[in-house]
């Protein structure tokens, strides 16, 4: 079998592993199109400086001794199988890299023979790249569950990032669909990688030249929509993983129906919107200081597909709004829907030298479309304040953007007032428009 064939087969199997964000949403704050990484054609990750990089995402082999029901490579699935030679894969990668097709490698694998044998093959690929070709770019490698700690460590010394996939959001789902995998199998290498990273940080204080160990940290992946687990369960688990194992990222991957187990949903479209909302909620937990319990709860256990989770949270906490742009603490600015980290920083910097008006915000390129319901500038709302209730805001946020008046100057305020006095049933009209009746 030539390299061409192998590449085709092993890429086809690798693609379902969403290891890097398959949606553009992670970088472009909340507004990115769903699935744009797919249209970009390769998998992406983030370098330490926050730039997104594209990876050659491929399996070393798609032979597997296991039979995880949700996986294309499962033993019982009848598909074409192939395996690279370590050298062959390394050469292929380098020829892509020097042409700037890719910036790094994402290497995963089915379990062939046994976990240790598989991990050794992966290790060989990494050794050729690092020690023969002196490749110093990004490598993400999967820790094969069940491989010995020595091998996990050796891989960690050569890779930038490692991941162990948790795959399903709860243990009961795991037991049902991935009988050969146990929670222990997943958490053991996770804990080992965590400890390796901590140990390295401690040693570096003592000796200058401690070898690097997984400098870009570890990540994991969860499949969304293959099991009945709720959004609340999922983000609680992510939160626990971030806290307990110091993970850098949890990736969510909308389940693409590839399995035929009776417990798996069939003929569904991958729940991409749900995946997108989960990424947003995850983002809130990592960068905006939200906890899983603030966003969702036992009784309110699913995110609203029509709202981004920050707006969802804000609507459930209207008592904390409006926020006065000129005086609110930075942390509170961050909690305003439509205001991202960069935006909040720009506001915080700009308001030191001048008192900000809505026109100034526009100049600072603050996204007013969503934030306008939650902020005041110098004590003034854009809309008359009696309209600031849950149903009006919900309706406006989920309706088309034409609801939003163009803010050019303060005259807008008066215009809106007039509009309202002429149409006493404005509230009802809004409800009609948004189908709230």
């Amino acid at each position: 079998m030539d390299t061409n064939e192998k590449l085709r087969i092993l890429t086809a199997s690798a693609k379902f592993d969403a290891a890097c964000t398959s949606s553009g949403s992670q970088r472009r704050s909340f507004k990115g199109g769903i699935g744009s990484a797919v249209s970009a054609g390769c998998c992406h990750a983030f370098s330490s400086d926050g730039r997104c990089i594209s990876l050659l995402k491929v399996l070393y082999t798609n032979y597997c001794i296991n039979d995880c029901k949700y996986c294309v490579c499962r033993r019982s699935n009848d598909i074409e199988r192939a395996a690279f030679e370590p050298k062959e894969l390394a050469d292929l990668f380098m020829s892509f890299y020097r042409r700037n097709y890719v910036e790094g490698l994402f290497l995963s694998s089915g379990v062939v023979k046994n976990p240790d044998y598989t991990a050794e093959r992966l290790l060989e690929v990494l050794k050729i790249l690092r020690e023969e070709y002196y490749f110093c770019g990004y490598i993400h490698v999967k820790a094969i569950p069940g491989a010995s700690p020595e091998l996990v460590r050796a891989l960690g010394l050569l890779a930038d990032r490692m991941s162990v996939n948790i795959e399903l959001p709860s243990e009961s789902s795991l037991r049902l669909l991935a009988p050969q995998k146990t929670k222990e199998n997943v958490t053991k290498p996770m804990a080992q990688i965590r400890d390796g990273i901590i140990q390295r940080t401690n040693e570096i204080k003592l000796f200058r030249s401690t070898p690097r160990f997984v400098p870009a940290g570890q990540s994991t992946q969860m499949i969304i929509g293959a099991t009945p687990d709720t959004d609340y369960q999922i983000i609680r688990l992510s939160q626990a993983l971030y806290r307990t194992y110091g993970l850098k990222r949890v990736f969510y991957s909308a389940y693409v129906p590839v399995g035929n187990h009776p417990a798996l949903p069939k003929d569904i479209q991958p729940p991409l919107l749900r995946e997108h909302r989960l990424y947003q909620a995850d983002w809130l937990m990592r960068f905006y200081g939200f906890t899983a319990e603030e966003i969702l709860s036992e009784d309110n256990s699913h995110l609203d597909p029509l709202l981004d989770p920050k707006a969802f949270w804000a609507l459930n906490h209207l008592d904390q709004f409006p926020v006065e742009i000129n005086t609110a603490p930075y942390e509170m600015l961050l909690r305003v829907p439509g205001i991202g980290v960069n935006c909040a920083k720009r506001i915080a910097a700009a308001r030191r030298t001048a008192k900000l008006t809505f026109a100034d915000l526009k100049k600072l390129r603050v996204q007013l479309k969503n934030s306008v319901y939650f902020i005041t500038c110098g004590g003034k709302y854009v809309f008359p304040s009696y309209r600031m209730n849950h149903s009006f805001i919900y309706g406006s946020l989920t309706a088309s953007s034409s609801m939003m008046p163009a803010i050019t100057e303060h005259r807008q305020l008066t215009m809106n007032d007039d509009f309202d006095s002429l149409t006493p049933t404005a509230e009802e009209r809004v409800k009609c428009l948004t189908g709230q009746f």
Binding site: T3, N4, L7, R8, T11, A12, A14, K15, F16, S22, G33, I34, G35, V38, S39, G41, C42, C43, R51, C52, I53, S54, L56, K57, V58, L92, S95, F96, R98, R99, N100, Y101, E103, G137, A254, V256, P257, Q269, P270, P271, L272, L273, R274, H302, D304, P305, L306, R346, A349, A350, R352, T353, A354, D360, K363, L364, T398, G435
Partner: protein
């Protein structure tokens, strides 16, 4: 040339287009005490009446003095920002940089947060625009290996980001000679493994692609086509076609 009379319409300083040239023009503007109405590079000159043109000649010593003072007042972040703004294609880049610097000389580092000032804001956005384009471009540029081993890539950027991408790739592929061809400006960025140069591309004919290049392009195309997940792509399309108001019925809540 300066004779002390100030004419209506202010003065337009003309420089040679180089970075040092720009800083020299700024130096001259400051010391001649004649407020510039604009600063333009020679090839953008458009003669209008009632405007006083002041030619400046790039002088590394003068430029260095302005740069040093600017770095002290505004910090090295700002210097990078100014450089990126200079590389932009915004017609008002030079005069915005000048005004940003003047504000910096007056109020020091505080100027960096003075985003409500139009010149400061302009420099920030021009620079952001340039960095963004360079960042994106670095990911999308594709090299071909040519006969003789040189790697060649042709592109046509909005802004003059050739120096930025050239140093990026020279650092990334230390032992590999590179030619990056800006077809919009007809410039070549050359890295010969010893140094980096930017020269005119007039009359340049790139070498032939090496014989196995097609094979690698084919492999890459194969990877690119295989990695996309058709189920995902369909859904994205579907979402575009289906207005949000139908969505609430489709999605489990």
């Amino acid at each position: 040339m300066p004779d002390g009379t100030i004419l209506d319409g202010g003065a337009v300083y003309v420089y040679d287009g180089s970075y040092d040239g720009l800083f020299t023009a700024i130096f001259d503007a400051v010391y001649s005490r004649r407020e510039p109405e604009d600063i333009v590079s020679g090839n953008r000159l458009q003669l209008t009446f009632a405007t006083r043109y002041i030619e400046t000649a790039a002088d590394p010593a003068k430029a260095a003095r302005v740069k040093k003072a600017a770095r002290e007042k505004l910090g090295s972040q700002a210097m990078k920002r100014i450089y990126h703004a200079y590389l932009s294609s915004g017609e008002d880049r030079e005069i915005s940089i000048y005004r940003y610097l003047m504000l910096g000389f007056r109020m020091g580092g505080k100027a960096n947060s003075h985003l409500t000032d139009p010149a400061v804001f302009r420099v920030f956005s021009l620079s952001r625009n340039v960095s963004r384009e360079a960042d994106k471009m670095m990911g999308f540029m594709r090299f071909s290996v040519m006969e003789g081993g040189v790697q060649y890539c042709r592109f046509s950027p909005e802004n003059n980001i050739l120096p930025l991408v050239l140093s990026h790739f020279a650092a990334r592929f230390p032992g590999i000679p590179l030619v990056i061809h800006d077809t919009r400006r007809s410039l070549l960025g050359i890295y010969d493994t010893a140094g980096r140069y930017i020269v005119s591309a007039e009359g340049y004919v790139p070498p032939e692609k090496s014989s196995d290049e097609e094979c690698f392009e084919g492999l890459w195309k194969l990877f690119y086509d295989t990695i996309s997940i058709k189920e995902r792509r369909n859904l994205k399309l579907m979402k575009q076609m289906m207005p949000a108001r139908y969505f609430r019925h489709v999605w489990e809540r």
